[in-house]
Amino acid sequence: MKDLCLAIVLAPLVGAIAAGLFGRALGRSGAHWITILSVGFSFAGSCLVFRDIVFSGVEPLNVVVYTWLVSGGVPFQIGFLIDQLTITMMTVVTFVSWMVHIYTIGYMHDDPGYQRFFSYISLFTFSMLMLVMANNFVQLFFGWEAVGVVSYLLIGFWFKRDSAIYANLKAFLVNRVGDFGFLLGIAAVLTYFGTLDYAQVFAKAPSLASTEITLWAGHDWSLLSVICLCLFVGAMGKSAQVPLHVWLPDSMEGPTPISALIHAATMVTAGIFMVARMSPLFELSTTALSVVLVIGSITTFFMGLLGLVQHDIKRVIAYSTLSQLGYMTVALGASAYAAAIFHLFTHAFFKALLFLAAGSVIIGMHHEQDMRKMGGLRRYMPITWITSVIGTLALTGFPGTAGFFSKDAIIEAVKLSHTPGAALGYWACLIGVFITSLYSFRLLFLVFHGRERMDHHTQEHLHESPAVVWIPLVALAIPSIVAGLIAAGPMLFDGYFGGSIVVHAEHNVLEHLGKHFHGAWAFVGHGFTQAPFWLAFAGAASAWFLYLHRPELPARIAGAFKPIHRILENKYGFDAFNDWFFAGGARGTGGVLWRWGDAGVIDGFLINGSAKMVAWCADAARQIQSGYLYHYAFAMILGLLALLGIFVHGVFA
């Protein structure tokens, strides 16, 4: 199995190198064939491993591929840990990536950077696989940063656009802030555990549960809280949790397939995956879990609200992604790791679907993304419309769809949780259902229903996208419906994850919940009677009322609540603050240090100052050596008199 895993990882890398370095020789079709085949191979391989691990009950694989380096007696290795959690991620990543590869043939059809694009997305697939398959923190960090770089390259794919190259730099730097915390967490692990190998760290963690460290005098911190909080800062960066969420909406500057693959389905879920992977550590720190819960709640609620005021179709979905990542984070905080991963799993399908459908709309609209200029598209793009409806129902949690199972599980789990902040999480998630439904149906109605608001020229050319575009939509729509029905029972309640996720008995809300679970269909039936369903229904009805029935109302409401509307339009001021305080502050600090510190004090005063001092002394000394004999004679007389004076003074005193 080790060789197969190696092949799964390396195939996309080979594809990426081939398409990237030899793109011109391969040509367009050569580049897309080689990358699609290699990622397809990875998906097929992942399915085989999935069968072995999940169905055949093969023991999880934990192997070293090679030793990266040894220092101070500690080996740092590259290796694989393939267990239930990993293989789930691998399958999702390779599947969505494969669909996106195929879709890209259509979406990027006319782009001059065609081969480069395929190279990047294959490289991304490689990086993401390295991240999820790691059996140690170093490789995790490798993958972590590598996906960040590919994301940077892809957001800035259209490098002539100022907005794109601003967004990619912003994304990279904000992610680096997260990585800063992440690296400190890794350093702490290495310092106190003496190893970075998952298995060894997890085995040793309980014995360090009560260790305390002193960060500043008089304040002792629980070691595991410090570690988990540092690691979570990393997760906040990658998984875009408040306040490190600011990069994700701007990342929509990248081509749409990327928004689907990287900024919705896979990379942004890396933080969620990482926390779930680290469950043996997080379980030992209630403080950390509580912080995770609160941050997740804030993200869920406040980012969802922003989705209501966006006009760019992709940005609405981006804020929706932020809000859904918040749900996953809440689940992590409530120790319902399985629910978080399950939501990650279903979300990957329906959110990729929504993005790709949005991409299909954007192709149809000749790269117009403003929803105010759309409307009535269902008549022209029936497949895109149907698949979007499916995606929307899954996102809003209509009973029976994939999203219903995962979201309800989270809401129920957090309701049962006793971790501090759980009540906040519960209400955020519950109200979040209404908000989700409102912005999702708003999008659906504004784009596909109502009257056509686009210009005449665009309207004439409207038609369904080609098969390479809509086939992936259909392929993603299927799991968006059925994934929950099939997987909810096993993944949430039947010990699907085995030993890959550790939950302490007193935190185990899912087990508690499982006692009331009597099969997926019963759960669906139960769902119709619960608050989330009615909240979602209310959201959809409000959207219908506001955007189809009385479309003049939203503007009036916005006018009536002007201050609130302005806060939402300014995205709570995060961007303005960051630009002013961090970007401006850093440039200001640099300027001051350079002009005053380096040029002023060090060079001006110390260096050139001492040079001037030497010159001044020399100058003074030169004045004395005038060359006139009478000057010298006068000096000699003065000296003689002085000496005489001292002598006389000495004798008579």
């Binding site: 090679y66 030793t67 990266w68 380096l69 040894v70 220092s71 101070g72 007696g73 500690v74 170093v138 960090f141 490798f142 940063e145 590598a146 770089v149 940077y152 390259l153 800035g156 490098f159 002539k160 100022d162 190259i165 730099l169 990279f172 730097l173 680096r176 802030v177 990585d179 800063f180 690296l183 400190l184 890794i186 350093a187 702490a188 290495l190 310092t191 460290i213 960060l215 850093a586 440039r587 600090t589 640099g590 300027g591 240090l593 350079w594 510190g597 380096d598 060090i602 060079d603 110390l606 260096i607 040079a611």
Partner: protein
Amino acid sequence: MHSDLPLLSLCIWLPILGGLWVIFAGSRVLDRAVKQDALILALATLALSLLLYRDFNAASATMQFAERYTWIDAFKIYYHIGIDGIALPLVLLTTFTTVIVVIAGWEVIEDRVNQYMGAFLILEGLMVGVFSALDSILFYVFWEAMLIPMFLIIGIWGGPRRVYATIKFFLYTFLGSVFMLVALLYLHAQAGSFALQDMQDVVLTLSEQKWIFIAFLLAFAVKVPMWPVHTWLPDAHVEAPTGGSVVLAAIMLKMGGYGFLRFSLPITPDAAAAFDWLMILLSLIAVVYIGFVALVQQDMKKLIAYSSISHMGFVTLGLFMMFDIHANTGNFQDAAMGVEGAMVQMISHGFISGAMFLCVGVLYDRMHSRMINDYGGVVNVMPRFAAFMMLFAMANAGLPATSGFVGEFLVIVSSFKANFWYAFLAATTLILGAAYTLWMYKRVVFGEIRNSHVAELTDITGRETLVLASLAVAVLALGIWPAPLLDVMHVSVEHLLEQVAQSKTSIAAYE
């Protein structure tokens, strides 16, 4: 299998004598022949140094390939050379970089080609001499002699303010070195010998050590350079020709770090322990303060120069936090990771800063400007160049799988053992390093073509591709599999830590 040739001496004298020959014989032949000869000499030296690597016994901490002849009998000064696992990587870096520099200067230098090539070859031999000298006077001679070719390289082939820069460079470094000479003479009086080994063994009181440490510090801190004696570097880099910048950044800065490893730590361990707070403070200032300063630079070369200072902060941090780690864990060997991180950082910085300066050189050769604002949208006309520069920029920002990550990672994770706040401040480089490097990249490379000069740029030639590709391979290889580099130095680093662990004052008290 040891070969019988005096390999190390060959690595020193082949380029020096070859360089002299190129200068004197080269004035009468075509420039092309001169360049070919220089390239052959540089490649031959590289090949010889690879033999050193092949025959090196990584399991031994003793000085290998040692040669010892009497030089000045009256003062017991010997021509004594040899290398251990700390010097070997630096020697290899020197011979590799010289080949790069010779090729990089191929079409760019049109004026006094023979002298240019000769100067770099002589410089190469002298630098290898510094890394292999085991007699302190021999070391001092190589150390000072090295300034001369560099002084000439900047002074003759440099930019418009080259005179100011060369004098600043010379005075700064020379002033520091004079104090080192005084310290060496004092040590000679105590140890009765100029041999490095004897100086490391001699017993010294704490106050003696402190004076010697400070004298060494003045010499080495200028070379590293450490804040606040760093201001010569941006000026020297800006005025130096591309090749000069590459050698300066890639190798000459490493002299300072090497000096700390070879002199300060083993000769004055107790003083180093007493002053470690100062060294760490200056290192962290370098990382953070200089990181901010780099952010606001308008001149690409200055920006990279400041980034060098910031990255060298990791070297001094990695070296001098060993005392704090010892205080926390009770074992000096726990500091090995920091020291090795510092070593890797030196090698890696050699590749990356060299590559960055070459990238700026490529642009400068075409547009004769180093100002960021004169560029914009270079990727549209130079896609291959943009790809290489992207790689090096990412390496400069410490991206995993490039060499830039390895050293920073090892130093940051092991600094946590010393003090959480060291790690905290050092890790800010993740943000600052990415900010100044990628912001520059964005303004220079991305965007629409900014002006007609940029529109006329042509992509890199085959020769430039060869140079950048060799460095790219080095950066990636070291990032993906750094184990071979670290395996060479383990035993020597352990030996160094044993030496540092042995307090000299306690022996003094005992005797």
